[in-house]
Amino acid sequence: MNEESMGLALEMKGVRKSFPGTIAVDDVDFEVRPGEVHALVGENGAGKSTLMKMIAGSFDDYEGQIIVKGREVRLHTPTIAKKFGIGMIYQELSLARPISITENLLAGRLPRKGPFLDKRLAKRQARSLLEGVGLDLDPDLPIEDISQHEAQLVEIAKVLGNDPIILVMDEPTSALSREEVERLFAIIDQLRKRGIAIVYISHHLPEIFKIADRVTVMRDGKKIATKPIGEVTREEIVQMMVGRSVKEFYKRQERTIGEARLRVKGLSRFGFFHDVDFEARRGEILGICGLSGAGRTELARVLVGLDRADAGSIEVDGSPVRGSTMAEHLEQGIAYLTEDRKIEGLALRLAVDDNILSAIIDRLSSASVFSKSKGMQRVRALIGELSIYPPDPSRTVGNLSGGNQQKVLLAKWLASEPKVLILDEPTRGVDIGAKMTIHSSIEKLARQGCTVLLISSDLPELVGLTDRVMIMRKGHFTREMDYGECSEESLLLAANGDVGTGEGRAS
């Protein structure tokens, strides 16, 4: 080992990990210094999660070298990774909700007095771990009684309890409010001062500029660049991420927006959203922006008949939507592409054609006899239009790549020829090629006169694709921005509750 790598907390040299048919991480060099916050950015599918899973010991068949504190190690299991001082904080919390903070924090190493649990010592240890992250909570409380933000900090405290050398944080702020993010950053800053090396994965570029010392950009499994944060601009990072400028990425074609199609008045589902009023027109792509928990998905579920509204009305083309089931709403032209692809969206065990036709079974049947052949022309056309690969209708959907699965899901709803299509995170977790196909397909649909409601956390997507964006916050529509005034920054600020100033579509 040379001098330089002795000074690094973590060094990865030429690491590579492939899945059948895909090289997820391709010959990547990556390093983190002690006391550094190193941001890792990239589009979904760029390979950052795979890289981090490698560090976490999730794979036993990666290639290349991983060096921790100057010592080459093979991180083949999570236990080994933990032993070498690697701490992971995932997006989804790993805490057990019904049991106490103490038991969660000290899981696997609860202090004993003879054969019994030493409760007082355990509580004391838990309290000091909580102090380390600035929490003043009763360690006896079960996790379900504390807030999401506090649980996030408990999770961090739990990982810190193992004295990590390297701390990996995957989108730690995705569920936090703005004030909570500030508090988290203060804690990260303390950890940095204690000499812990921090890898920080995030989609929120403004956050990265606030907290990171260096940034590494990944795209298509390869490392594009590592730069000190002071030497890059947001535009440069975005450009490296997408491989082309955002403006180029979203080339808009002219669309004509027609008369009102979907009219929502005073719609409420108590506890989730209240008094929602809006109108969406033919050929319009209307964005709905908000943090998770703002009520976006809940609103979609009511619009599509999955949940009941407590008050208010929904009209399509001037006539009120009848019935209270999804099938009835679907019949009246409202379709919904769910956020969850694998469980709620697709039947992974079934073939591509079975999935694409699954929303129009009754339409393809006469006298209860189902005619698959009647639908096959549509299936083939959609496979072609969305360039679903492989272009084989009998292929099992679960064996397709994530991007192609998402295209199949979209194809299912395109096949239903909806008047109003609600899309909930339509490009989450897909590669950039699939994303572009899906976007151009959404635009085409709008050009044909369909009204599209686009719920997305992908701000460039909202900015680039929509005609208007409604901002939803804590169950209310708080603001509306048209194409000219919305930008990533203004959307982010508005979703967080600030009155943003339109900075134009700079990004």
Partner: protein
């Protein structure tokens, strides 16, 4: 520009990469299920050969005699009728209907009680009551997501209790309820009627049920909805499929064929008894699973289930001829069930799916 071909660094990298790591071309076409179904009949044939070999080596007598083969067919008919209906429940992803035994028993009691009003009213009444059990099962499992095994098992015991309470723990006979002898004769004929002195009515019904069942499963909108419901209930629901109704229908079908089998068994024994259907639950599930219908739902064929019933029937017959007692036969059936479910689970896992 919209191309996404070849080894794209796809969603496979983020999120659950391992879940979709398998990219072999597994097709879900009807070809593979036909091969599976053919395999089931191959195994049935093997058991026939085994029986023949045992006869020629002198271990058992008369396996190949016409009378014995007829016995096999008759037994297969009863198990098969129950299994065909129950396989809709399995296909819907709800494992099995454990209330079948007492549904069969109750059907017999009701029919015998109603014989005094005529044959047709008795049959309709008996089947009607069993359909109510199916509606109840389907409603509770479909609407309230009750665990199907636990719920139908409970219904089985509650029904048993009701039978024994109402008929004060007594068996009843067709000719003791003041029914006309003609009607009793008709009732006796349910099991004993033979076309061309050979083919029993239950066998005819089974063949009809298999043909109709296979058609319903593969060619009707209900069948397509059932496949989606069994394969991915949430995705089915979010495709606008009324999965509660679909699941309810599958339980009603199971109850319907259980009622038919119950009538046949009661006609055979000429007595209404609460234990008339005992063992048919497990025999049917075993036939279904051996027939290639996986407990995870959404996979398999009715033809396969018929093959499974055939295997069960031949196996039972051989075991009886060898002189293996009822209890030991239960053990063998249990072991086979575990074996088949285990093999199924393993082969699915090796295909990269862990949802056996």
């Amino acid at each position: 520009m919209s191309d996404n071909r070849g080894p794209a660094p796809d969603g496979a990298t983020d999120g659950a990469a391992t879940a979709q790591a398998d990219t072999r071309s597994v097709k879900t076409g009807s070809l593979s299920s036909l091969v599976n179904t053919a395999g089931v009949y191959g195994i049935a044939l093997l058991f026939l050969v085994l029986g023949a070999v045992l006869q020629f080596t002198g271990a058992i007598g008369n396996f190949l005699s016409p009378q014995n083969l007829l016995n096999i067919v008759d037994a297969v008919a009863l198990v098969g009728i129950v299994a065909v209906g129950m396989s809709f429940v399995t296909y819907s992803g709800n494992y099995a209907d454990m209330s079948v035994p007492t549904t069969m028993g109750l059907t017999g009691y009701i029919c015998i009680e109603l014989l005094r009003y005529g044959f047709i009213p008795a049959i309709i009444g008996a089947i009607g009551v069993s359909l109510l059990i199916g509606v109840l099962n389907g409603f509770v499992v479909g609407k309230f997501k009750a665990n199907p095994i636990i719920w139908t098992l409970a219904v089985n015991y509650v029904t048993m209790g009701i039978i024994r309470l109402v008929w004060v723990n007594k068996q009843i006979y067709p000719d003791m309820k003041g029914s006309s002898p003609d009607v009793v004769a008709l009732f006796d004929a349910i099991y004993r009627l033979r076309f061309f002195k050979l083919i029993g009515l239950p066998l005819v019904i089974l063949i009809l049920l298999v043909v109709i069942g296979q058609f319903v499963l593969t060619k009707t909108s209900f069948g397509v909805k059932l496949k989606l419901t069994g394969s991915a209930p949430k995705a089915a629901k979010l495709s606008g499929i009324p999965i509660e109704t679909v699941i309810m229908t599958s339980f009603v079908l199971a109850a319907f064929t259980a009622a038919i089998a119950g009538l046949a068994v009661t006609s055979l024994s000429r007595v209404g008894a609460w234990y008339n259907g005992a063992g048919y639950d497990f025999k049917a599930v075993t036939a279904i699973v051996i027939g290639g219908m996986t407990l995870a739902g959404g996979r398999g064929t009715i033809l396969g289930v018929l093959g499974g019933s055939l295997i069960i029937g031949i196996l039972n017959n051989i075991m009886t001829l060898i002189g293996i007692g009822t209890f030991s036969q239960d053990m063998v059936r249990g072991a086979i069930f575990i074996l088949v479910v285990g093999i199924n689970a393993k082969s699915l896992r090796s295909l990269g799916r862990d949802d056996a």
